[in-house]
Subunit: 308 residues, 6 copies
Amino acid sequence: MDFKPLSGREFPRFSAIKTFFRLPVAEVTQAFDVGIFGVPFDGAVSYRPGARFAPSQVRETSSLGRGFHASRGLQVFDRLKVADLGDCPTVPIDQSQTSQRIEDFTDRLLLANKRFLAVGGDHSITLPLLRSVHRKHGRVNFIHFDAHLDTYPTAWGCEYHHGSFARHAVEEGLVDPHQMIQIGIRGPFVGKDDLDFARQKGIRVFTIDHIRNGSLADFLNGLPEFTGPTYLSFDVDCLDPAYAPGTGTPVPGGLTSYEVQRILRALRVRKLVAGDVVEVSPPYDTSEITSLLAVDVLFEMLCLMSAG
Amino acid sequence: MDFKPLSGREFPRFSAIKTFFRLPVAEVTQAFDVGIFGVPFDGAVSYRPGARFAPSQVRETSSLGRGFHASRGLQVFDRLKVADLGDCPTVPIDQSQTSQRIEDFTDRLLLANKRFLAVGGDHSITLPLLRSVHRKHGRVNFIHFDAHLDTYPTAWGCEYHHGSFARHAVEEGLVDPHQMIQIGIRGPFVGKDDLDFARQKGIRVFTIDHIRNGSLADFLNGLPEFTGPTYLSFDVDCLDPAYAPGTGTPVPGGLTSYEVQRILRALRVRKLVAGDVVEVSPPYDTSEITSLLAVDVLFEMLCLMSAG
Amino acid sequence: MDFKPLSGREFPRFSAIKTFFRLPVAEVTQAFDVGIFGVPFDGAVSYRPGARFAPSQVRETSSLGRGFHASRGLQVFDRLKVADLGDCPTVPIDQSQTSQRIEDFTDRLLLANKRFLAVGGDHSITLPLLRSVHRKHGRVNFIHFDAHLDTYPTAWGCEYHHGSFARHAVEEGLVDPHQMIQIGIRGPFVGKDDLDFARQKGIRVFTIDHIRNGSLADFLNGLPEFTGPTYLSFDVDCLDPAYAPGTGTPVPGGLTSYEVQRILRALRVRKLVAGDVVEVSPPYDTSEITSLLAVDVLFEMLCLMSAG
Amino acid sequence: MDFKPLSGREFPRFSAIKTFFRLPVAEVTQAFDVGIFGVPFDGAVSYRPGARFAPSQVRETSSLGRGFHASRGLQVFDRLKVADLGDCPTVPIDQSQTSQRIEDFTDRLLLANKRFLAVGGDHSITLPLLRSVHRKHGRVNFIHFDAHLDTYPTAWGCEYHHGSFARHAVEEGLVDPHQMIQIGIRGPFVGKDDLDFARQKGIRVFTIDHIRNGSLADFLNGLPEFTGPTYLSFDVDCLDPAYAPGTGTPVPGGLTSYEVQRILRALRVRKLVAGDVVEVSPPYDTSEITSLLAVDVLFEMLCLMSAG
Amino acid sequence: MDFKPLSGREFPRFSAIKTFFRLPVAEVTQAFDVGIFGVPFDGAVSYRPGARFAPSQVRETSSLGRGFHASRGLQVFDRLKVADLGDCPTVPIDQSQTSQRIEDFTDRLLLANKRFLAVGGDHSITLPLLRSVHRKHGRVNFIHFDAHLDTYPTAWGCEYHHGSFARHAVEEGLVDPHQMIQIGIRGPFVGKDDLDFARQKGIRVFTIDHIRNGSLADFLNGLPEFTGPTYLSFDVDCLDPAYAPGTGTPVPGGLTSYEVQRILRALRVRKLVAGDVVEVSPPYDTSEITSLLAVDVLFEMLCLMSAG
Amino acid sequence: MDFKPLSGREFPRFSAIKTFFRLPVAEVTQAFDVGIFGVPFDGAVSYRPGARFAPSQVRETSSLGRGFHASRGLQVFDRLKVADLGDCPTVPIDQSQTSQRIEDFTDRLLLANKRFLAVGGDHSITLPLLRSVHRKHGRVNFIHFDAHLDTYPTAWGCEYHHGSFARHAVEEGLVDPHQMIQIGIRGPFVGKDDLDFARQKGIRVFTIDHIRNGSLADFLNGLPEFTGPTYLSFDVDCLDPAYAPGTGTPVPGGLTSYEVQRILRALRVRKLVAGDVVEVSPPYDTSEITSLLAVDVLFEMLCLMSAG
């Protein structure tokens, strides 16, 4: 199979059954390099739900995606065979069972030596994804875009929720905190100990002030290089609500779409083995601008993957 | 305390901290007759979430409520002392813990010999509410407005979800199926055995065709009388999506707002001990018309309570 | 001038500067029969504002209007010369000054022996309109569509607001309460004395129950005939919120669009001298269905005017 | 292949790549009975566009569809093998080329002896669909739900547009006007000659008044029987805008969802060879209630097909 | 009483009766430091109304607020006792009476030696608030964020409206024009004399060009210090419509959320005695991003108050 | 005639029949300098339609426009007589006929020695506008704001569509590619040859990276000067979707409203003979922020015209 997007100059972009980037649907056994799949689960959110509809909306909006990345000079779909794997099974009302199904689905994919991009769902899905990645690749580097640290403690007596995955990822040894960066952090914080975890573990936290205090170019130059297997998790609430209104816990004062693009283009990642885009909430996504950004981020991650 | 709504002719209806019907907030120990409380939980829905925001939106919309029921000739708040009890504690990501908290909250209320109206939340909240009511009042009569039977089997391996509460309520002996009616039922159905449960248990099912085949007056006259302690559960999807777009699993071909009003006014219930309005989903509730209907239904239930 | 609507088969309906029914704009001195004008004022509403934008939105939506009334067999714009007079001056933040400007504007129009249709604005505009009509025609018959009686007392210390105009119209002797009907009334009521005014004055109140208790045909046949100069005021909240979400104080359980059409077609009015459509609130009018109904009502009133 | 919908009790309804009724995607050569396909084209509309997005939205909403029709007692997907054929190629900016592509696509399908349901798109797509059907089945019976007659003349110098297809279908001899009914007609009309075409050709026109003047049962009993090959075209604007806001040229005073369901259930059609649902315009479809109705109509047409 | 926000880790943020920052409701006689109250009045706006609903929506959105300000290193609610005082009485249709009620309400509060934050309402409410503050504190420093100067002349014959408060505040001697800054000003202007008032009175006007012409740091360093009693009035239209769509008279080319945060953090104010956030218009606030910003601004003002 | 906007201080901005900037409507024969007209056509778009409603919405939003440009120190309507010419005739379903009508309309205007601003419509309208301009003024300089190059090849077999106008304008010799700039370009690109056309023809392309890599001041200083007759075409999708959600093919990473304002103010254009604003799509324009920007751009173009 060809694993090329359906042409928008032959079939209008609003037509056809919606798949990510208008790519073919494939089974794990087929000869693609990267599989994109949805993880429609929002059962771990603390405020606005709706991310369960994100895979469907991102598929729809990805019809506007193209294949050539101008500033990279890269024709992605010539370099990588990419397929839509459909959605991972979930149990909408049970986080624990959902995690198990995500791990099973991803294990099978990694066993077949594929790379993947997952489209959430809320941020709780990243933990089971990382568990699978860890089984395959060992402890990985971790690039985390977010307004929130997601190293928060138990809430309502629940250890696992969409704001605690990063803490568990570190505590379970899935990611290397010394090769972990968090970008776009800006609170709001409950208390001053919110940042203790990152400090103690050696995680580098790039708040919005770090990014904006000097020139963007300076910030980009200061980003570390990631040589080993790396995972990139992108929570759309790293963006300002003006750019990403369609999310569950928006925080004013965030990144712009252009900053996100420039940071993604500046990342030096040798081996991006997997990634995700999470927390797109379609019921709050006026004019689909948030899901359009999610498509952009997926495209940048494919570019990163095609490079190494 | 007076337990009267704030006057709209003194304080504009858009002003003041929002409570149900602009009533005072009270503790369970105070001298009110009926407590209204929210149960902001949508962790058991199968399709569109959002009902977690319903208590807040219904409070807002209930500002438009009044106190005199013209066709009943009844000044409700002269007859009943009604208070807003705030929201029952919930665990947004854990149905089982939420159920326990609902039972605890409601037990305390019933122990104090109060009647109550609960504002969901999804329909899964009715089961713990009924368990409490059963502990207080024994097996109750049950009036159930819904498009769906909610006697469905396990889904995604989960026994408890928002479409199975009515089955559990019967199976646990909380309600008397021979004193149970379901109004507005119209599917869609997965299979022809969907109706078997109701038939076997002796539940009377009034589909939309039953209601519309003759005159409305004839239908109303044929409604049974309920003499013992009775519980009324109102799922807004019994209404047509034109009248109640803001819900999780809308079904075309439903009741009109007027039919609902007439049925509620025609019910002969001696002792309405409790009730609920569920499945209002504000993110989908254009122009707040669904929550406005929920307010109407709450008002009718207060009228029923004031009568006996 | 021709006073015909711009043809939709020559100029697409979404094109051209928006006037009511795509009619020519005229000065009061020109040779038209009926003038339609906007009264963009919502400074007397008690809950949701926005009706100030109604003249503009109704002009936009009236592009979908046509000229032939099928069930009446009537080509309206062959029978009547109708023009758009623009908007009456208003003072958005001063009800009293606005009333004066409305009276001045209307006086000038009536002095020129024109009939008119006013597009509100909130219902407070009807009082100054009636004052002008009274100066020209004396005490008139009054047909009032509404969910509310609008005979309410002072609110927040203000004698004049959008819920008291009907009381003032009677008290000032502008309309004949014995030749006055109120259609669609359903509350909600603050108290049982809400209906006292109508009873004492001899106003016939047709609640939604009156309309629905028998067949629609029977209700229509029972409507009185109006022989003298008559004014028709149409508050869109007489309709159910499903049909008219775009209004300030919606009330569930209202009329359907078809019932409104049938009632308007059944009215026997010899001499409709003026009318208004009020309380369309565009910010709440999803998909413009409320303003589309307003257009329909304006068209029916033009038909009534063309008949006598 | 099995041609069964994906189970909602195993895979949540919000998950999976969206196909009509969650059915498998198939090629025309496969062994299914009925193919559903999209025709995403709105290049012939006169007012609000957007119907190009309807196939995608109807696929999304059809996730809520089920398989058992309670009042018919029919498990559709046990009786018929139904598949999603994807979208027919269109040229978004060229009606004439689009028509040719629709005919080619449909010819191939009919040549393979399949029946079909097309999801528009605007009503102009029905003409090429009927041309194909005529080539296969000869002149067919025609059941047409609509607010408008769609027998209108040239507009803006264009013979073919979304309001003229029915005239061309008759003039080209594709449908038998004596075996043709139009249901839900209510204008608005440009002139009194709008109805001349229907009268001259012998088309039976059921206006909203015909349907509502007596009891619904009487109307249903009076519907004719269709014995030969029959085509059913359903324009969602036959419904009232309260029930179907998401359409291009809404007309107040229309059918309710329940009336539509009852009429569709009462139709006596021996051999429904094809059908379509057109004029759903997602940008105006608040809370997706219009597309949900479209799904209902598709389901009723599948039931009709399974019967003969 | 404790005057701490309800914990989001115990009670989900979408639950509970909505108060500002989930704080306790208090009477003026209680032992709090700062009272937040709503002033739901939009009777002085010139274009889009709706700000009357802002107190309610800002309460709802403030559920997402937290207590720790990371860049200030400040736990606000440990430093200040803050309470929700409910809404100030208003007369929705009478600006003059409303002003009197605002003054009365605020006088009582200031007499009790409280500081306050008012949530408008349109900008006309600032004048009566300043009158009260002046009675208590004398002529105050004034920090004014706005797109508009609000020193405009009479409109429609009305001296007082939402665009003239700043002029009156200076003319009545309530604020010291030499200790007054206006931030974010960018027109649009009616004429070149719009700026004359500021020039003549010695008000420093920081237009968007002043802020953007150099580096943000340079601008922040150039801000004056305010040593005496100071009032801060924040009109959300100082922000660009992308960041604050929910307002009455939006102006393109405005501040970003981050700039607003940085300016608020850079302000050197010794004694912030009171403040307000005005012109949030919920009917136009897609996805609540404007009210979320209003919450952010309220939080920054609390931080400023806690500092001195 | 005076050709001044209706005063907002006499007639509220929400009142009056909507014309561009509340200017008088004029015929081509009248004594104005610049005519603004709508071209309501979206029959050439590739994705989201709706731009047909832009002239109407931009008229509505332009009510918020003023006359004095503060940073230019310019009272535009004292310098230029500007009129609203209504809408150019179009054929909504035929691009070729529409082009002809646009040329005819514009020819007549240019023959009368007027300058113009056209409000689209999609970007296909610029080609016929340029043809007319070329007939009058010969080959013109061309300033093109856009996310897309619009030099794309045939799509779906159609040579002319909204993404190919710039290529045709160059190929037909209407504009001078050496005096042509494209501002805001950022893809997405289908392939690396997308930029070949511009390179070969000598068009200067300013991508978003060009604009943002240095300081804005540096970029502005580097803009070329245009001495001969110049045309400016502004596609709102040059803006980021956060600033312009209401458009057909949004692209993340775009210009801000302030950048657009500064670029427009920095342009050195001796003789702006005509311009357009295109691709505003009202159905996707939440809170009207996109059309508000379009008004701003029109105002800047009037300023440019008043200067030379």
